[in-house]
Subunit: 822 residues, 2 copies
């Protein structure tokens, strides 16, 4: 089909081939020659260079180069990397490849984590983890050197000009320099000074590849800020007006400490906004004059019930818009990446399609671990027209099929079809049993009875009971029932089918944990007794009964990754605040401190004698301190929940200065932003999901499709053979071919002339979005192709007319930056 003298339409990074086409000398100049051989040896393990026929070798080499660049484009499309950071010459390519693999990413991540974890051991350290100054300063320097090294690689890959134009990297560089200086100062002075700049450390973590989701969250938060701040001003404005009003009305009452000065008045109303001091703040005034409650009711109605909701509404609205825009830009970026890659994969002779050979070449770079069989199946599933070549339209679906997991379709229905007849009948019986409604409902009844049992049993116990010794017989009975159920289901459905359902996995793990707990108890392993306590989790299964709960829980699982990244974002904010808190407020709070403040009671720790009994009277709030980073995190969580947060604030304020309140108030506002975003996100996700299920009310034909996307490909014996032949030609040495030979063997064994393969992947938010915005997406594509008109499709003719075509690809994206050549 293809001949070896297919010539790529576009040549990339490739001055050696200039003889082949006669041009491209400019590029060679720009690269400055040199490093070419290194690249060749380092990254392209093809034996073509030993070939005698120089032209053919160089042709093959330039194809390899194109494959690699196409793979990089596709990667950039997947990761949403802007094309102006695309490597432009072999030197940059080497750095790019060095900086783009999981080893490097892990190094980035670990460095970032190390830097953050260091604060466990630094000055106000967790007692058991305290390290000497020179140890942690040295560790810090080490980590900073690693970061510097990573930055150097990035500089090499991006080039100086792009590097200084990349904002995030520049900020990182500045912070790095600052930290370097500080670490050295610490090492020299052998003591930590006030190092608030440690609060900037999360930047190193956020910048690493694996934290892309956190970066996205941060961007979204910043995008939601302007409208948020507008409404916040309104909120503060009303607060000040009411503070003046309150001061005027209540300051004559000397028994009222909340409004004695304007500052107190403002602080009281700020705290009232969080409801944390209600109704106490009202009480002195209320006891004087019952009508003064009107002031507080009006204030709370306006601020808490109206403007705060308005805040949510505004953020929700902005968030909605931002989500959609983000989805659009991602979608178009991917399309543009595919356009770029396609240009690099077509040949001069057949400029409208990608052949299997070229696709395979691309895939060897894009997914080096993928087996030859899967590469071939991916090509087949893309190729809907039946044409031997992939058209651009086919190729656009690249990202939809790239994540598929391929599996041959089972010939039989059950896993036990091949077993002897008697055994088959037994298993068939079990299968029918576990699939029956009666069995399901019987299990629900068992779970419900178990639930009531646990409740009654726990209610009957007196409180002093030692849990670690106690195993009621009912526990063993119910556990046996669950165990039998799990065994029946596994045998009846087959392990594969059983474990493919999330609910079954949940059942299985809860049951296994319960068994482990029982064993731990039997062997008296004290620390594991909490596992026994987890058994009420079994009750969660009851929520499978109702469709709405299934929806809710499914959505919960779908949301989980995003929620986790939001949680991580919150932790990063916590970290920065914890560092600042530790630097300023470490060890200012202790038992019986704060005696001058109004909240002294909460910090008290004294022995009180009542009658003839000595009782420890504890206020406990001295535990909410900033003495080390773990305590700080707990304290900050308490501040996030906002109830009684003013006790911590007033305590700290009474031991330091008035200005400490700024810290607490700022923290409240920041968490309010993040929390509002989280609420908006949950709202948005659920409303989106519910709209989606309304829009697609008809149930899927195959119930297993409900949460996944399935593609089907049929492979005939002849196709498999010829593909194997082709692969043997192009890269004979690769071991991945064995998978393709496996296909042939499977056909021989089963005596089939063809095999059907199923490709499966779980459904993502992006799939849902594509279905939701179906019509708009067509518009976006239309707009996009009009903007990129000179290249999208028509470009091919133009490119063919002019023999120099290297410039074509980079121009595709208007944001590409300065064009590479010509």
């Amino acid at each position: 089909m293809e001949t070896d003298d297919d010539v790529p339409l576009i040549l990339t990074w490739d001055e050696a081939n200039s003889g082949l086409l006669g041009e491209d000398t400019e590029r060679a100049d720009e690269n400055g020659g040199g490093n070419y051989d290194i690249v060749n040896n380092a990254v392209i393990p093809t034996p073509a260079s030993q070939n005698n026929r120089a032209q053919n070798a160089s042709l093959r080499h330039s194809w390899e180069m194109n494959y690699q660049e196409a793979a990089i484009y596709l990667q950039e499309g997947e990761n949403n990397d802007k094309f102006f950071t695309h490597p432009r010459n072999p030197k940059a390519l080497a750095a790019y490849l060095f900086a783009h693999n999981h080893l490097f990413y892990m190094m980035e991540l670990l460095t970032g984590l190390l830097l953050m974890v260091l604060s466990l051991c630094e000055a106000p350290a967790v007692p058991s983890l305290r390290l000497d100054v020179y140890v942690h300063a040295t560790l810090e320097l080490l980590a900073l050197v690693m970061v510097a090294f990573e930055l150097c690689m990035k500089l090499r890959w991006l080039g100086f000009h792009t590097f200084i134009r990349h904002k995030r990297t520049m900020v990182k560089t500045c912070v790095l320099l600052l930290q370097f200086v500080e670490a050295i100062v610490v090492l020299i002075r052998q003591t930590s000074h006030l190092r608030v700049t440690r609060a900037l450390r999360p930047i190193f973590l956020v910048d690493c590849r694996y934290c892309g989701a956190v970066r996205r969250n941060l961007r979204q938060i910043f995008q939601s800020l302007p409208p948020f701040i507008d409404i916040l001003l309104l909120l503060l404005f009303f607060m000040v007006i009411f503070a003046i009003l309150g001061f005027c009305l209540f300051s004559p009452n000397t028994a009222d400490p909340y409004f004695s000065t304007l500052e107190n008045s403002i602080v009281s109303l700020f705290v009232l906004l969080t409801t944390a001091n209600f109704p106490d703040v009202m009480m002195p005034a209320y006891s004087r004059n019952r009508w003064s409650c009107v002031f507080f009711i009006v204030y709370l109605s306006i601020e808490l019930y109206f403007i705060m909701n308005l805040l949510l509404a505004v953020v929700f609205d902005t968030f909605n818009g931002v989500e959609k825009m983000k989805f659009k830009s991602l979608l178009l970026h991917k399309r543009s990446a595919i356009d770029h890659a396609f240009q690099l994969l077509v040949s001069r002779q057949r400029p409208t399609g990608v052949s299997l050979k070229q696709f395979d070449g691309l895939m060897r770079f894009y997914r080096p671990r993928m087996s030859a069989r899967d590469r071939y199946l991916t090509f087949k599933v893309l190729n809907t027209s039946g044409n031997p070549m992939l058209s651009l339209e086919d190729f656009y679906k690249f990202y939809e099929v790239i994540g598929l997991k391929w599996k041959a379709r089972r010939s039989g229905e059950h896993w036990f079809d091949d077993l002897p007849h008697t055994t088959f009948l037994i298993f068939k019986g079990i299968n029918l049993l576990v699939k029956s409604k009666a069995f399901q409902y019987a299990m629900y009844v068992v779970v419900a009875v178990n639930g009531v049992w646990i409740l009654v049993e726990t209610y009957m116990l007196n409180s002093g009971f030692s849990w670690s010794r106690f195993v009621p017989w009912s526990y063993i009975v119910f556990l046996t029932i669950y165990g039998v159920e799990v065994l029946l289901k596994i045998t009846g459905l087959g392990p594969m089918a059983y474990f493919s359902s999330g609910w079954n996995l949940f059942d299985f793990s809860v049951t296994v944990f319960a068994f482990l707990g029982l064993i731990a108890l039997a062997f008296d392993m004290e620390p594991f007794y909490f596992i026994v306590v987890l058994r009420p989790l079994q009750l969660l299964r009851l929520f499978k009964i109702k469709q709405r709960y299934r929806n809710v829980l499914d959505t919960m699982f779908e949301l989980f990754p995003r929620m986790a990244s939001l949680g991580l974002t919150l932790i990063i904010f916590y970290y920065s605040f914890a560092i600042v808190g530790m630097e300023f407020f470490a060890d200012v709070i202790y038992p019986n401190c704060c005696n001058t403040s109004t909240v002294a009671d909460s910090y008290r720790l004294i022995n009180v004698t009542i009658g003839n009994k000595t009782v420890l009277e504890e206020g406990y709030y001295y535990l909410n301190n900033f003495n080390n980073i773990l305590s700080s995190f707990v304290t900050l969580f308490e501040l996030t929940v906002v109830n009684n947060w003013y006790i911590t604030m007033e305590g700290v304020t009474s031991m330091t200065t008035h200005w400490s309140r700024l810290y607490f108030m700022t923290f409240y506002i920041v968490t309010m932003v993040v929390m509002t975003i989280i609420v908006a996100f949950i709202l948005d996700a659920f409303v989106f999901r519910m709209n989606y299920s309304r829009k697609n009310r008809e149930p899927p034909e195959n119930p297993e499709d409900e949460n996944g996307i399935v593609f089907e490909v049929e492979v005939s014996r002849d196709e498999a053979l010829s593909t194997l032949e082709l692969y043997k030609q192009t890269c004979p040495g690769l071991s991945s071919l064995s998978s393709l030979q496996g296909v042939l063997q499977a056909m021989d064994r089963g005596g089939h002339t063809s095999l059907v393969y199923l490709g499966r992947r779980s459904r993502t938010k992006s799939d849902l979005s594509i279905k939701m915005y179906e019509e708009e997406i067509q518009e976006w594509y239309f707009e996009y192709s009009r903007e990129n008109l000179p290249l999208a499709d028509k470009s091919l003719e133009r490119v063919l007319d002019s023999p120099v075509c290297n410039a074509a690809a980079p121009q595709l994206d208007p944001q590409t930056g300065p064009p590479t050549v010509n």
Copy 2:
């Protein structure tokens, strides 16, 4: 144009005319004859019955009957009354008319209010309002008799069958009987017994006509309940699981009172859900083992930050759907009402249009107070085709134009155009001045300076200052500036233009209030000094500068009626809970009570001697009691805000029984529902509004149209004359004709041959919805007209074929119930 022998297409309630058309005897049977004369005299003040020509008189009479029924249909469409409550015979009509006027509505409202207000004076009464038992019981009986009378009127109008099918009315009847019995018992025993049923009193208020918005809110709340309850169960389920877990983990710690029993454990976690006892609930466990904070963090993350938001999402989603459905059904109900009315207004001779004469007849019943001029203008504005008759399509816009306020377009631009030249120039100058940007911004600067001034001034004051005597000179200076501004604007723009803007009204009232405050101060009127304190409200004007704030504040004003009705709904819930609270918890709370509970401190009131000073140590919480209905309301508001609500709960519980907690928990859940609905409503309204303004981004041509809808009609002299002639013929005695004569006089005076009239009304939510759902509305109409195909348009032919046509109209609506005749 029209002749007097036009015959109505459909005859209604009209057995007297049977000779005219030959049929209708069935109807006469049903009515049982009789009452006809009374109706005629009571409601139709037409002298036609004295006319000698019997046939013509009866024709005119049947037209009048038709007008009246059409007006009733339109009223039902406006009020969203179902058509099955439509009066079916003259007897019912009399009762209907009696029960449908503002006098009757006011009576209903006042009765309902009286019943509710009674609880101020009953047993645990507000001290100053206490009444003797026989006084308030007699008042109650009186009110109940009024309600019974209203119900009798309704029975007469609806007929027994419809009456018992009307659920709300039946519930009201049952409650009425119950209250009757109780009131009599109270009167006989001369002492109040446990009267929890008083909590049902709001039913009488809710049922009255003016509380339609509250009824709608309640319906919406009940419609949102099923999904809400589902998620609530999930919430409670997790709470129980965590309670068991918490009990297992923390009960061994004897210093931890929060988890000592399973019941305590559940209550602690319920309160924790509201965050009211955080971090206290965590502290005993936390001081033992620092890792126990994980339990609380996980619990709060799941319950508070996830499921509670889920609750909001689900309610928001349901709410959205319900709003749209409500809008749809209202729209279609109105359309159906118009269909019914149209059928009654067309004549046999011209069955496709309504003439001016008939329209005017309708309007005389529908809006008796409307002047002849306005009736004519309404007809003109509906009549877009220029045809002398209104088609059905024209008539469909009836509700859009019925609320218009008509005014002749001013010939000149300014109000001072007609003044002498010098004066004109002065006013013109002022006009230009106040309209200039510079003037506006100068005023903003003044306001801002004023704001800073107030803040600094207040800050400088020492707290003991007596406000009632103090007038700083700056106050007078700024007030003078504002006064001059208001005067300039009024003279420059003219009073009409000035007061038509809400912002100007706000300016004006704040300034006037400030002046009043100053006068009050000057005359030493102590109680008014709070007016002086309101001056920071002037600062609100600063928010006009930014578009977003203008949007927010405008939306706030638009939402106000709806918010008020939601507030009223909340108050009704409060009322019921307050009654129950008073019946059970009145006088259980007093200073130094609750010594056995953990919250005893909060109820303490003792004199403490510190050094040689005696200080009153007050816990104040004894003020949050259920001793009378006003205190109960304040207490319930505190419970709504939820902070520290467990202090009240534990206090009451310690003085009564465990079961008291049920009251507080139920109240929390109920307010949670209502509050979630309120949040969902605000979210929905704002997101809707923002979507709307995005959809209609282009600014309106006339800036005044921004918040209003304007129609324009031109009336020529000939038209006015002929209309006047027509009106004189049809109802010569009416004084409303003078308005039409006024039109002619205005033309004569100005020497014009025609006048242009502008009809204005403010934009409502319904207008916005119509614009938002434009496309869907067309679908709904299409569906609706398909369902009602036999009648909507084609019916006319069918009806014309069969001479008996009374049955046609009632069949229009499928929910009409049993057809009236035939």
